[in-house]
Each structure stands twice: as C-alpha cells, then as structure tokens.
Symmetry: C2
Subunit: 360 residues, 2 copies
C-alpha cells in the first residue's frame, strides 16, 4: 500500500493528512467516517486488483455530493484515467416497455458466457423523483446480477442531468480501470438523457417495439437519427410478422437519412429478449461497427470529441447555472418573460436587461 | 409627425436630442449622417404607412452593428411589436441545388397573385465569407422582385449565427408591422442555421430532391425530424417517376417518426418549381397546418416558446461568449484540451480549472 505522500505525482493532493495518525480501526465499524478512512491510492489499488467492494465504494464517492468525497473521488479518477478506455461502450435507449432490462439481461448473460467483463450503468435524471429508477432494482436482472463477470450499478440518484451524466461518465473510467471490457449505459428516451448517453458511448442502440401509435409516444424525435443501429425487440409469439415488417420499414427509413459522420450505415435487426433469439446478431452489429470505426479512425475521433464535449458541456452548464440561479435574476426573469409574451419588449431587449443586471 | 419628446411613452428613449434644432436638410443629401436624421418614430410611422423606403432603412439599422444605430433600431422594434404577429411565418430549408430560389419565386408569385403581402428573408451566417449569399442576388428572383406585394431582403451579412438570426427575427417584426401577412425565411442546411430558422417560424418546410447519394450529402441529420412537411422538388421531365417514388418513401419514413408535439402529422408532396406544378398544394399544406395548430392552440404556444427561446438563447450566447473570448481562457483552453486528450486529467477537472481561472 502506497501512501500518497510517498508518491511525488500526487503531492499536493493529499486530503487525508493526519488520518494515518489515528488509531487503526476496522473501517466497517466506524460507519459515520467510513469513506474517510481510505486514501485515494487505496481505492485505486483496490480497483486495479479487481476488488468489487473497493470499486463500489469509489463509485459511491463519485456519486456523493459532499466536497470531501468529491476531492478523493477526483484523485481516484485521475489515477484510473491512464488505465481507462479499453472497452466497448454501448448505449441503449428505448421507451419504457421496450424491454430494455430483459434485453440487457439476455445480452449481458451471453457476453459473460463469452468471458467478457461487463459493467451495466444508467443515466436517469428522474430516478429520485419517480422512485422507479431504471436499474434501481437489480432483481429485475436475476440472471445477470449473479454473474461474477457482471457489475450492475443503478443510475446515480437525481440532480441535474449534467450531474447525473457526469457521475456515470466518471464511473465508466473506474470500471474500465477495474478491467471491465464492455460497458453498457442504459437510458430512457426522456429529456436530454439520451444526448448525454450518446456523448459517452461508442455505439448507440435504439431498442424499438412494433406498433405505430402509443408505443412510440414516449420516444423523442431525433433519437432515430442519433442511433447507430435499431433492434426491434419482442419479435416472438404472434408478434413475429409485425416485428419483421417493422424491421423492413426501419431499414427503408434509415436508408433515407443522410450518411453518418463515420460513414457507417445504421441498420435494423429483429430480436426477442424473452426467447433470447437475435441477441447475438445485435452484438455482432456492435462489433462490426467497432471494427469499421476503429479501422477508419472514427472511433478514436469520436472519443476525443466526446472528451472535449464534456469539457465544454461542464463549463457551459456552470456558467448558465451561475446566471439562472442568481437570486436577482431568478426574481427578474419571470417579469421579463411576461413582458416579452405581452409584446411589450423584444426577446433581445429582455435578454440585454437581464445581462446588464447580472453584470452589476 | 410626432416627436418622441411629446410622447410620454417613449420618454427616456430619446437619442436624437438636439437634432431637431439643426437646420432642416434633405436627408438624402447628408449621406454620412443620413440615418441619424430620422427619429425612431419617423421610421415607425413610415413602416406603418407602408413606406418601403422607410422599412428598408429601418432594416438597415437593425442590421447595423453601430451602437447608435442599434439604439434607434431597438426603439423602432419596440414601437412595432404591438403590431407584429399577424402573419404566417414559413421557414424553407434545403441543400444548395434543391431549387430553393426557384421554388420561392414560384410560390411567392402565386401568393402575390392571391393578394398576399409577402416578405422573403434569409438566414445565412456564411453570406459574407462565401459571397454566394442566398438571396444576395435579387435578380435570381426576376419575377418576384418586381411584384409590388413582395419585399425581398438578402441575409444580413455575416457575423455569429446568433447575430444574423437575431437580425432576421427583428426584421420579421418590422415587416409584420408594415402589413406583410406572409413571411418566408430561407436558410441553407448548414451549421445551426436551420435550428435558428426553425425557432422563428410557424411551419418549417424541407425542400428535398430525389436521389439517394450525393443529393443528400449536404443536409444535416436531424433536419427531417424537425420539419413540418417535405416538398420533393424537380418533379418534372424524366424525373417525375423518381420524384413520385421519393414522395412515397418519405411518406413512409415520416410515418415511423414519433408524433410531433402539436399532434400534426408531417407529410411529403412532390412539386416542380420550374413547371409551377404542385406549388399550390404545398401552400395548402402550410395553411392546413396553420388551421390545425391554431385550433388546438399549438400555434400560439409555439410562438410563446419561440419568444422565450430567444431570450434564453441570447443570454446563453452572451455568457458563453464572455467566457470563451476571455484572453486568459483562450490561451489556457487548448492546453487543457490537450491534457484531456492525453488522459492526464478528466474532462471535469479541466472544466473546473478553467472555471476557477475565469472566476479570479
């Protein structure tokens, strides 16, 4: 075990100074200070050694909003970064009822059998409010949750989308450093969560169900054009014909879209998560894409773009938060909106007055 | 003619104080101070009386970047606002080569014959750079430009997209106050310009041409899902069959999209701007939509949302501009990006360091 103080690289980052002088205690006995007892390096070494408990604890730190937890979390992430990146990152979206959990359970089990190490994460900014968090209930994935090669983590509990997404993105780093070679990020097609998920994965899969009306209600426009592939789930029982027809329809629709930046042509497949048919084909599509994008350099390019995206996204969110949470602005904004809606002043004058007020 | 000083409502907004005491001169003779000679109220009254010259001059003020011009422009806009809003605002996008100019000429001529008063505006942030500005050359619309009911204005010359879009949006207000009941905003499917156009119109039309490859290259993914309707142009000569087939393909594709927020179901039509066939049908689609959206309240809702959108958009752009044009940030940002790309620090740490630097 290396103490950060003995490690030049991490000088100046030591936050647990003095803790080492306390009498040694069982960390599990000192519940209220449990997290403080370990140093960043201890978490890091545990993660690298494949210690699941350490990984889970570190993810808890990443998810914590306490400044002292965040300080250690950032050190752990920084130590893990050089070991991150060696995974296939797959995003999966779809409306509630598309069968995401069952699909991930079926796909995940196959991947584990093929000796992949799989981490399943989620982005669901509504998780706290609705209490019906995706992945919140691990027991929905009975089979997968007992696989020794699988690590399932529910969505960080709510906050701003930016906060939730950031935590998930940082958790990917920890999981990759822990040796997971396949990361699945699940999201619901709500709000901007799929944009966030899209911005941290290599392949974005839209899980679709047949039907033209209600089944599509929940999904936002724009997601189809964002996806690298579509899987029509529930191609089973007396639904096979409809699912196959849907596959063809989506195939034709995708062909009308302008080409993707990578040159990849997204396509649609049918599968049944319940009957476990067509699942391997979906994974083959993902791997086919990865080979394609690795070869033409797009995979590397996309990851670099994503890393930059999160720099800008974080900065932008902080700047806008500062403005919109300013008490004076919070009071003035509704009045200005009202004037704009009543055609008393233009949108631009309203904006200028608000900015001038903020500048003072 | 009312002088602003005599009008309680505009007290405090008087910027031409003293000008009235100068000897009266022919405004067209004093070129270097031409714009200063008129008061905001004079522009406003000219606009309301349908004086094209005054309208053009006021638009020039709106487009000017000089603070003294902007001051008057904003007063004119404020005076015009209560008289704005009584028009159908139609956005038209499509790749270069889709025949936008010819289409607008054909549609515009029909509208003028039906006694509509039509203003044709444009958003093209590249106009200065490329010199190939859309609408830059009015002579491309020979027939329309001589119609007494048509007012054609090229894109404001370049600057940021936000600046160009703002000027176009403000020009809409002036045109509506001048009695134009139909506004067309043309844009190219480049960058974010179609998002800007989409955010100021009632109906967003995608002008498409047949073909599966090169013709679609220029159009950005996402535009199709943004459009309220598609017109397949160049349905003429030996292209009729292909255009009709494309119409069916797009119809099928649109049916797969999730429903729009308004409940409107976008559809595709074929037309020929050159042969002037199918043009009326496109306009019928626009009017059908307007009736539909007016009835269910969506039209009003969309306009209110747009007005708010431009408040937020203007504020956000100003806040971000302030940050990214800060000299210290401009120097530090590339270094931070490099560290992120080399996996030395996380995107979030980089963002935090930049924000901390800016805060100092």
């Amino acid at each position: 075990m290396t103490h950060p103080e003995n490690d030049k690289e991490y000088k100046g980052l030591v936050v647990n100074e003095g803790v080492e002088n306390l009498p040694q205690v069982n960390p599990y006995a000192t519940f209220h200070r449990r997290k403080q007892v370990l140093t960043a390096r201890e978490y890091f070494e545990g993660i690298r050694e494949g210690d699941r408990t350490r990984l889970s604890q570190a993810v808890t730190l990443v998810e914590s909003n306490l400044p002292e937890d965040q300080k250690i979390a950032q050190q752990v992430i920084e130590m893990c970064l050089p070991y991150a990146g060696n995974s296939i990152r797959l995003g999966i979206t779809g409306v509630p009822g598309a069968g995401k959990s069952t699909f991930i359970e079926a796909l995940g089990t196959e991947l584990c059998k093929a000796d992949k190490k799989l981490a399943v994460l989620a982005i669901d900014p509504s998780s706290e409010r609705s209490k019906g968090s995706i992945l919140g209930d691990k027991t929905r994935m009975n089979e997968l949750s007992v696989e020794k090669n699988a690590f399932i983590r529910p969505s960080p509990s709510a906050g701003s989308l930016g906060g939730v997404a950031r935590k998930t993105r940082e958790t990917i780093v920890l999981c990759e450093a822990a040796g997971f070679d396949t990361i699945i990020v699940e999201t619901v097609g709500v709000g901007q969560s799929e944009t966030a998920a899209h911005s941290m994965v290599d392949f974005f899969l839209l899980l679709q169900v047949t039907g033209t009306g209600d089944e599509l209600q929940g999904i936002k426009r724009g997601i189809m054009e964002m996806s690298d592939g579509i899987a029509i789930n529930k191609c089973d029982g007396n639904n096979v014909e409809r699912a196959q027809a849907a596959k063809v329809s989506f195939k034709n629709a995708l062909a009308l879209f302008p080409p993707t930046q990578s040159g990849w042509k997204p396509y649609a497949l049918a599968c049944s998560a319940v009957e476990k048919t067509g699942i391997q084909e979906v994974w083959d599509m993902v791997e086919e894409y990865i080979r394609f994008a690795r070869e033409n350099g797009y995979l590397e390019y996309r990851r670099a773009q994503q890393a930059k995206y999160w720099v800008y996204e974080t900065i932008n969110a902080a700047l806008l938060d500062g403005f919109y949470h300013d008490p004076v602005i919070e009071k003035l904004l509704p009045q200005m909106e009202e004037k704009v809606l009543n055609n008393q002043i233009s949108s631009f004058i309203a904006a200028k007055e608000l900015l001038d007020t903020y500048g003072k």
